[in-house]
Symmetry: C2
Subunit: 347 residues, 2 copies
DNA sequence: TTCCATTATGTTATCGATAACATGTTATCG
DNA sequence: CGATAACATGTTATCGATAACATAATGGAA
């Protein structure tokens, strides 16, 4: 049983009193300000140590109008990609001396978005990382609202827009790599299983596939593509559909590894040999993909790095604003790379 | 290019001035205090709306000594389990009106732990959720330090200790279920691939396996177990080792699904039929496990729910302390359940 | 009619720190 | 040796809100 005993917080006044100096002097010692005599400094430091004094970041944030806190708005944390990005975000934030105030979006409607933004601003965050995938028109609010947010906002995984800072994996170029690779392996009838088509990332991956085929003089018509929703279950459905609409299929570029997993399984069941009769390439490069049977060729993206770079980027923005410098708004891209494994090449 | 234009924050003073009342009255309106005349209330509300005033949670936290913020300390976010737990944490926190201040532990040494705790306390969190798996002696600090932390601390995934609130999945009983199931299917030579043995969860799962076998009068000696580190790669290694030390193996309980994945693959390669010649059961119940080939029997734990309940628990603790009630410290457990699929039963 | 509870609002203190300014003491230099 | 810069420290104002207390008007109950 825990007794509800309460110790009062040790404040700067307690220290000042115990050391026989003013609070300002204690503050100077804590912030390593130069003009403090060695003698005083030591005396104060001893008291700080004895009392176990730790300054209240909260109070400091209030007076300095700066919290060294970044608001992170996430969506779909239950998926592994976003959560690994968050990992990168957390690590880099730590390294640069920032804390993270987290909000997971439950709905994507404008009201909840407004509420989330307000609650972050009310807590004086120095910047906001919008780590929510772009789906449908869920970026419309941005046009009206962005200018009136008094701190920098950085968008992850968004279609580049003028005057809006963003950072994303280059999904298009990843898809091109994968499709190109299938072509180089000699496959000609290359289908695609896409993600949900209202997701920007899904569109980009599909565009990479179709552009590459068209450029090679091949067909990329709609019957050669089926839509999933990222889940393995939907991947299975989409694959079955594709086998119907595109029977001569000899290779398939699947928009994520989870869906590719069920393509591999269904191929097994139907005794379709991978890669001899059907090559399969995925996207994401989840660690398990190396242990699929057969191991999966996939476009490896580095969500961890995406997270790290996004913190670096927003901290640059915060510092620029702090120092009243102007700042060039960019859309940054991170290049993925292709990992070739058994599912597309005969070892 | 973004112009470094800065709008001044609208404060309670601005509202008070514009509405011709005192700040106290504005505060009363914002907090729905009763003794305000309808006329005044409306006047203030109009001004609030016009100016777009939002109270500073920061300032409020300072005076009220209460931030409605919970510190969450995580470790291993890059793994899917912890990140889904975080998802549950985030959702429930939102529902109960709390924000999350996040810190990912990089090292597990005492210094970094101390630093993390201090930085959370300096930001006036109302409670701390220690979502770090128990590994080796990384809970030793707790004995000395816990009592001196002025806010409630709840530990996730920890061996129950007297007077320390904790919440965890019941790994032991999950392991018992899986092993029991294998026994019921008629397998007699049941091996185990464990997680890293300094993890509490790994120990519990192994204990569930060995206890069940011993109770059934079967052998659970060391040569029937191999140790992995949760990764698919290590699972493969462990499986190869097990095939050597325990050649008569006809079933294996694997401590997580990722490792089970590579067991399935290696079995394919060696033309060992699953489940006819070798039954495989996993642990975790990741969504993909339903799409392994064959689909994997696994112990389903609900990390999302773990997260939700942990927030509920700590909020109870916070409220108890707030109201100066005493509170019964418990170790809570969440029961997992077995999902039977193809890898252990002939459909 | 007087008194006190209820309602309505304002004033001052406070949370824990730093900013801005003020003042006194030492060095330093021409 | 006096002016001036550098050092050392203290005092007061401030960040944006609420707590605690004070004051005044209203409206029944005694």
């Amino acid at each position: 049983m825990t007794q509800p005993e309460r110790k009062k917080r040790i404040t700067i006044k307690d220290v000042a009193h115990a050391a026989g100096v003013s609070t300002q002097t204690v503050s100077r010692v804590m912030n390593k300000f130069a003009y403090v005599s060695d003698e005083t400094r030591q005396r104060v430091e001893v008291v700080v140590e004895q009392l176990g004094y730790r300054p209240s970041t909260l109070a400091r944030s209030l007076i300095q109008q700066r919290s060294f806190t970044i608001g992170v708005v996430t969506f779909g944390l239950k998926y592994i990609g976003p959560s690994r990005t968050l990992n990168g975000i957390a690590d880099m934030a730590d390294e640069l001396g920032y804390m993270l105030l987290m909000k997971e979006l439950v709905d994507l409607d404008t009201e909840s978005i407004e509420e989330v933004i307000e609650s972050l601003l009310a807590r004086q965050v120095d910047g906001i990382l919008w780590a929510v995938p772009e789906i449908g028109d869920n970026r419309n609010w941005l046009t009206d609202r962005l200018a009136s947010i008094p701190v920098p906002v950085l968008f992850l995984t968004m279609e580049p827009r003028a005057n809006v800072p963003s950072i994303a994996t280059d999904n298009y170029s990843g898809a091109v790599m994968a499709t190109q690779h299938l072509l180089e392996c000699g496959y000609k009838n290359i289908g695609h299983i896409s993600g949900p088509m209202d997701w920007w990332e899904a569109k980009e991956r599909k565009r990479g596939w179709s552009d590459t085929l068209i450029k090679a003089g091949l067909d990329a018509s709609e019957n050669r593509c089926a839509e999933g929703n990222w889940s393995s279950a939907s991947g299975e459905q989409a694959f079955l559909q594709l086998l119907q609409t595109f029977p001569t299929l000899d290779a398939v570029f699947v928009a994520n590894d989870q869906m590719a997993l069920s393509v591999l399984r269904e191929a097994h069941r139907r005794k379709i040999k991978v890669p001899e009769q059907l090559a399969v390439a995925g996207f994401d490069g989840i660690p398990e993909s190396a242990y699929f049977y057969p191991s999966l060729t996939t476009v490896f993206q580095n969500p961890q790095m995406l997270g790290e770079q996004s913190i670096q980027y927003i901290v640059e923005m915060i510092q620029a604003r702090q120092e009243n410098r102007s700042f060039i708004t960019q859309s940054r891209f991170i290049q993925p790379n292709l990992t070739v494994r058994e599912s597309t090449s005969l070892v």
